[in-house]
Assembly symmetry: C2
Homo-oligomer: 590 residues x 2
Amino acid sequence: MISYHDIVVTGGFWHELQARNQAVTVPAVRRRFLKTGRFAALDFSTLWEEGKKPHIFWDSDIAKWMEAAAYILQKERDPALERAVEEAISLIEKNQDRNGYFNSYFMRVEPEKRWQNRDAHELYCAGHLMEAAVAYYEATGRDRFLHCMIKYAAYIEKVFMIERSAAFQTPGHEEIELALVKLYRCTGEARWLRLSQFFINQRGANGKDAPVYSANQSYSQSHLPAREQFTAEGHAVRAMYLYCAMADLALECGDEGLLNACRALFVNITEKRMYITGGLGSSHHGEAFTFDYDLPNETAYSETCAAIGLALFCRRMSALEPDSRYADAAERAIYNCVLAGVSEKGDAFFYENPLEIHPEIRGRGERFPITRRQKVFGCSCCPPNLTRFIASYADFLFTRHDDILYVHHYTSARTEHIEIITEYPREGEISLRVRGMAGGRLALRIPGWCENFHCGMPGTLDRGYYYIDIPDDDFALTLTLDMPVRLTYADARVYGNTGRAAVTRGPVVYCMESIDNGDNLRALSIAPGAQFTGGFDLLECNGHRVEEQGALYRFDSPKRVSQKLRFIPYFRYANRGESEMAVWVRAEGV
Amino acid sequence: MISYHDIVVTGGFWHELQARNQAVTVPAVRRRFLKTGRFAALDFSTLWEEGKKPHIFWDSDIAKWMEAAAYILQKERDPALERAVEEAISLIEKNQDRNGYFNSYFMRVEPEKRWQNRDAHELYCAGHLMEAAVAYYEATGRDRFLHCMIKYAAYIEKVFMIERSAAFQTPGHEEIELALVKLYRCTGEARWLRLSQFFINQRGANGKDAPVYSANQSYSQSHLPAREQFTAEGHAVRAMYLYCAMADLALECGDEGLLNACRALFVNITEKRMYITGGLGSSHHGEAFTFDYDLPNETAYSETCAAIGLALFCRRMSALEPDSRYADAAERAIYNCVLAGVSEKGDAFFYENPLEIHPEIRGRGERFPITRRQKVFGCSCCPPNLTRFIASYADFLFTRHDDILYVHHYTSARTEHIEIITEYPREGEISLRVRGMAGGRLALRIPGWCENFHCGMPGTLDRGYYYIDIPDDDFALTLTLDMPVRLTYADARVYGNTGRAAVTRGPVVYCMESIDNGDNLRALSIAPGAQFTGGFDLLECNGHRVEEQGALYRFDSPKRVSQKLRFIPYFRYANRGESEMAVWVRAEGV
């Protein structure tokens, strides 16, 4: 893998996103975390204010924000940002228990309950702190935070692996497993890899772990040993973080059992349990996977963090074996569900990302996803997760295996041997220049959605990658991925989508909003053979609207009038006030 | 109105239903009420068994069953049934408070809380007991129960109208208002009519009534004075019972304000808030009306009692003014939602009547209506309501205004001047014979669904009734209502139903079940111009099934295969085990 560390994003789509992230989102999340007492919770010397008692999730919120800050600081000095991170580190260092334990909730609110409740997110918070510490060390070279977290990891190793004195064996919310792999990679200490393996191996294979949230062990992926899990079950975010760690260990340890499980899980997710937006989790009930083809649009949970988790899992799978399906799925998640999680301005967030919104049905009093992005949530995992994800996006771009340089994703960026210039995903033309790799090979991902591509170079297409022999040490080529607007259809078993189509262009899924199309989107349909005009920001095609007919029920076939239909990228929905929204639109003749 | 008392149902559809009701349903409900302690609760001399503490609704359950028994006993002696009713009456008589109060819950469980909680259904239970007492007196001439209830009514008059000593002014659950009109009609005592008027006039017009269930006064129709209510709001059953009483008082008192409100409410319900099955209440949340055109299929509440209430309201409106829309709506409710409430065998019941069922989505853990009829419910209002409704159905058939005999509904029946023989709704041919009415007029309802009818007699069609001068004292004619199978479409604002049609024939709405059509009903569609074959029990037409396509998402237009589609009457759904069900089916070319 070629790390974000060694890559500069030079322009285009992701440069804009990262600039917004740095200028708006990271400060906005910090302000909200200051205001809600999250930063103050690290300072044990003051009492908390009314209503600002530390929450069991809070350390992880702070940690993800710190991790984002680290990624930004690696690229560009920002003394104020650095100071904010250093202050948090100082408080953690100061308040960390002598034995290594650190948790602002359990140290301050319920000290007697440490390691008692499997669902209390202690190891989850610890994992996020470890990820942040590694990122900060790699960004700045300063190791104070890293040493705190090594000490914490050693304490966790003692409690869980050696003494086994906790009330549970594996975390109710996975995350530390992948963090420990990062700690291993950063320090070279094999004990952290072994601790990660311990948690993975114990999962679903010990008599000590109580079910969390529901009576069903599958909620926390504890229903079976990891190597026997072949269908994605339970809480979608927990599942994704687990699968990330499984893929990491498959790579680090050559663990075939874990690799097989990861492959099966990937297939189950992407062929049966994933929204077209890359969203995961079909129900708010448990924020969970349900069953094959159960992908309701209006009540989709589809948490931003789960789509981030899917992208992270796919990135690891791409590193394990060259198969474009992994990057295809990552791309689907990133350009749709993940980016929908943050507002156009960058300061408001969705936790749930439904595929259809009818604001007025909330008047029923039943539970539906919210329809406007919020500045912060009580459980505010998604906003800081977005900040760190966007800041470290370059991690997705390249891997190198021996003499093969893989390009998994396209954006304007450069690293040691390659430079890319493109407006992707706005258009499919990609200029590449490869230096100092004569005799090696370039492997360009041809996305699954792309039916025609051109690059003027002979090559071999294998599992979605186009392999080209690099002829000399300064080699330029242009890859053009044809990116027409297409109607996409779901399998008939996705029962809400029969008779409907989604408008897609390249990796981007589009949606209609009533602000562009008038109220009652379900009355609209795409005309047979409709041609699309417009560009990335707005697509138009011919369609019809069923007219209101006066009588509630009647025998006369409904009358239709012609109407131009307008579509915007799904990830931009709900940026112009409350509006109906629909991804899946009735398609005539289907 | 010509009472069921003076009508004999002689054969055909309703004779079969009433026979099943008498032979199966009434005994089955009694057995369940015995088993659950409902009858025993009337006996204050014994302690209740574990888990059988009287419930605040129970008196009303028993009362509705007693009312059904009375209707049956009016037609046919049944000593065992009579004894069961008499035993209950004896217990009520014995345990009634000296002051007239009777409530098996508040006398036994919380005696200090009488008349304190507006939502505790005391006046609702009292109303049902009064209805039962009137029915039993009219059936048997025995007045013991009636006297108990007159005493109770007098006590209620004292507490609510004279002393105003209760913690509330009007009941949280309406019902007593219509019962008091029955008591007035039975006894001729105007004070009961005045007491009913008092409750209606005070509703939404006093400072004493607290909101019930939710903070919203509209839940119990207390948001406005009755005469200012023009849209159906809140709990659907409560609303219907209120509107029944408003219509009763409009008739008895010539109250134009109430009549206007009733007309507006009827229009709002039938043109904007009613399922095609006559079901009412779009959400389980409050078991309530929501807003115009909000009629979701899978999560419909559509309580059996609300459809019964709609039929009862419409019957009263038919008596107020000759307009077939009232009987049309009653018929829609009766032949669809009401009859769906009871199983084919007659011993199991639905409380909620959704228009679409996907049994597997219950696996999400979210709330959906149950998919199999139950023998009894914790709150078991619907089963005994069905027993009394079916037993007294003849009340719907005829009214007489001066020299005009109105026939509102068609079934084989006879009364003083008319005899009808028909297999309606199985077929549209109706033989009528009118005796002793030469010079008078016969007004035959031509249902709104009927586009062609024939009767071989000149006449005048006015607001859905065909008026014929009766030529002599023994006059026979055959009315034929053409009853082809029709596709019915919903207004485009019913957003779940665009692109779909419902199969209807006469008043009967049909549905598909997966047991007849294979799994995944949403993959099926009705072919354009499809012709239907078969009869009342089973209709068939040509259609298509979208094939499963392997990939979850793809660009290829879905492939379809031809499939014969099979439809059964909606009211017979869920009688052959758990099955998918759908009323609204995708219609090609719509």
